[in-house]
Symmetry: D3
Subunit: 160 residues, 6 copies
Amino acid sequence: MSDFTHWNEEGRPKMVDISQKDISKRVATAQSTISMSKELYDAIQNGLIKKGDPLNVAQIAGIMGAKKTSDIIPMCHPISIQGTDFTFEYEETTSGYDLIIRATVTCSGKTGVEMEALTAVSIAGLTFYDMCKAVDKRMVIKDTFLVQKTGGKSGDFFHK
Amino acid sequence: MSDFTHWNEEGRPKMVDISQKDISKRVATAQSTISMSKELYDAIQNGLIKKGDPLNVAQIAGIMGAKKTSDIIPMCHPISIQGTDFTFEYEETTSGYDLIIRATVTCSGKTGVEMEALTAVSIAGLTFYDMCKAVDKRMVIKDTFLVQKTGGKSGDFFHK
Amino acid sequence: MSDFTHWNEEGRPKMVDISQKDISKRVATAQSTISMSKELYDAIQNGLIKKGDPLNVAQIAGIMGAKKTSDIIPMCHPISIQGTDFTFEYEETTSGYDLIIRATVTCSGKTGVEMEALTAVSIAGLTFYDMCKAVDKRMVIKDTFLVQKTGGKSGDFFHK
Amino acid sequence: MSDFTHWNEEGRPKMVDISQKDISKRVATAQSTISMSKELYDAIQNGLIKKGDPLNVAQIAGIMGAKKTSDIIPMCHPISIQGTDFTFEYEETTSGYDLIIRATVTCSGKTGVEMEALTAVSIAGLTFYDMCKAVDKRMVIKDTFLVQKTGGKSGDFFHK
Amino acid sequence: MSDFTHWNEEGRPKMVDISQKDISKRVATAQSTISMSKELYDAIQNGLIKKGDPLNVAQIAGIMGAKKTSDIIPMCHPISIQGTDFTFEYEETTSGYDLIIRATVTCSGKTGVEMEALTAVSIAGLTFYDMCKAVDKRMVIKDTFLVQKTGGKSGDFFHK
Amino acid sequence: MSDFTHWNEEGRPKMVDISQKDISKRVATAQSTISMSKELYDAIQNGLIKKGDPLNVAQIAGIMGAKKTSDIIPMCHPISIQGTDFTFEYEETTSGYDLIIRATVTCSGKTGVEMEALTAVSIAGLTFYDMCKAVDKRMVIKDTFLVQKTGGKSGDFFHK
């Protein structure tokens, strides 16, 4: 089992020293899902919004949020992200609709971008909630997780 | 049905004008759950960490994150938060353990603190993931939602 | 003539004390204009962008930028902005097109929101430039100024 | 014609992936001009300010602003700026004075610093306005543009 | 003895709820001292710097730093500071010179501005060090403390 | 004597161009000391805090603060810090106790991390003060200084 790498000998959290690690290209993809009522889905689809689009604001917030990761997550190293993109997909469910949000973050650096991808989808989800909460406060942000990562010494990872 | 309040007449998002709203005491509680392996739970409990505590870092990150809400969520108004607290609770599941995170945020202002509470639990969850991901990358952040809110013209809200 | 209010007795800048000022509703509108080639204007209009819209990103950046004013402008007081909205208008010129950007910011507080409105249109303009610079680097951001302000002891102001 | 590089296939904005681009030394210079009354110019020159100097505050704000570019402009990549400097020059006009602000930003990285230089002069200009607005609210920030850039695959650029 | 107010029942830190506290005018003054060599002091005085002035940059950084207090100190409430000013004084010592930095911060709010004043002088001191460290790396920042505070329920406080 | 490197030819501060400097591994250690009453020390030691620990919050704030250095100190270059850790040590004095805080920051870059280490201990000290000020407002933050630095062209440095 890997050991915990964020605590120092006195048991307090530290920012792990990565200066000896190699630079390599790293890519991570994370996913989050928002479950909403049919009423909200219809409102979005049926022109209650003219040129606007909640996904647009969510995507921009998610991209900007990925850049703030090391400012938000205490032990994250500052990383110069080199690319961020999103996909959004609606799926009908028994009780309404699910919006599936995926973000992929790229960098070439000494540490991975898993937290950047997870932060990106989380902030996109929170922004979607904020944009639509006047219509439906009962939305639930479900199953936020790391889909895959490549690059780095610890090897590639794929969620099941 | 309430209408969408974040878009202007040209269909682009705006920050809604709240200057005519009354100041009232507002409280919101949000919840998030992290599902983890028994291996990770045991590692946390069985002294692999001396004085340290992932919940401690998560709580501090969540409190600091609540203060950043209007910087992260594009259409949120800047709010002077007046109190933030957390509870954490572990529950055994069939496949491991769930950590249930709840945050309550208080302010007296012209708009509610739902987004602040949701942001607080989301950032606490992301931080917990970051602190423990060396042991278990398969953690899933499940069911993040608004539990309740009180205060403000739109009335009180309770999930379910 | 009004005197300079940002320097202290030793000649160094200070943040002026506004604690004795009254709270009143304050509104400010600022304007900026971007001059672009016909080629760029046509590219925007003729579907080189599907659902996307440079004005959308500019508007969101401008709204978020207004909230950052006191973080960017050294002597600005932190203000709880209560509303921000934009209008965008294209006008044909002899050499191409002008995009006229206007932002209106509202608050009820002890000091005005002129700088917030000017910062909002400036950041919206910079963002428009960034979104379109691959097509036309020769864009010029022209004539950024305060259109009007109302509220506060110094009285209302109208440009020209 | 170059195509738009900030939108993804679904028409929503993305942060372009630059991980394949080469690292090279990049320099960009931007310019902005503030048009002011003779009354304000005289006040600045004739010792209404002792040791203080609006250009000093404007320059510091501009340098700090250049560092915030990727936080302010949604699709800008985070860049480790390696140098920033300013020049300021007053010119008499028929109606008063013009202050010409130029900022040069340097980095060695995978993407250019045009936006950093434009942001630097814009924030310096806004700060100058803020420092002097008690004397003259009618100042206009005129003609903000990219003067030149060198370095990078797309080649050097000179305005006019 | 007052009890610790920053921890919750589970022993983890929380942001104390101040929503029941009254709004009152609050003022706090903090002091810090930088001890430097005669060589550095002479360099500053004898025109190695033309119009520039390390105190100028330190003061601006300190004012901007006061505004960032709640972003930097985890349990601090966001406060709308209403005024910040500095005094600087040099004193000859047996081994060189001391620079005494004092900052006074004002607000009318539900909680005091002690941390804002302490943060202001600390950041001003760090900035002075940064501006001059090429000449003298052995500077020591001595005795940073709260000089006095007035306003609020806990009463006035004067250091010794 | 070294000359001042932060001012340009016009006497205004600039961010020094480091693009020609070599990348090397750099380490810096800074120290700060907080002097407190025996009453406060006993309160911390004797279980007035259950699982909580002021050093824990101070350490996390210090690590996050080190990442903010270039945002706080005007002329500091943005640096990708690669590791940060702290030690804390209590020492009995004639009038109470001293807490000695040391922070070590690592990076491989074109400029040193002295300011990052000094900022880390300063923010940790301010946070400790904030956490404990309800018990003892008379704490003094004493002697904050650079202990040592290694790496870079200007050579290694050791205090005293």
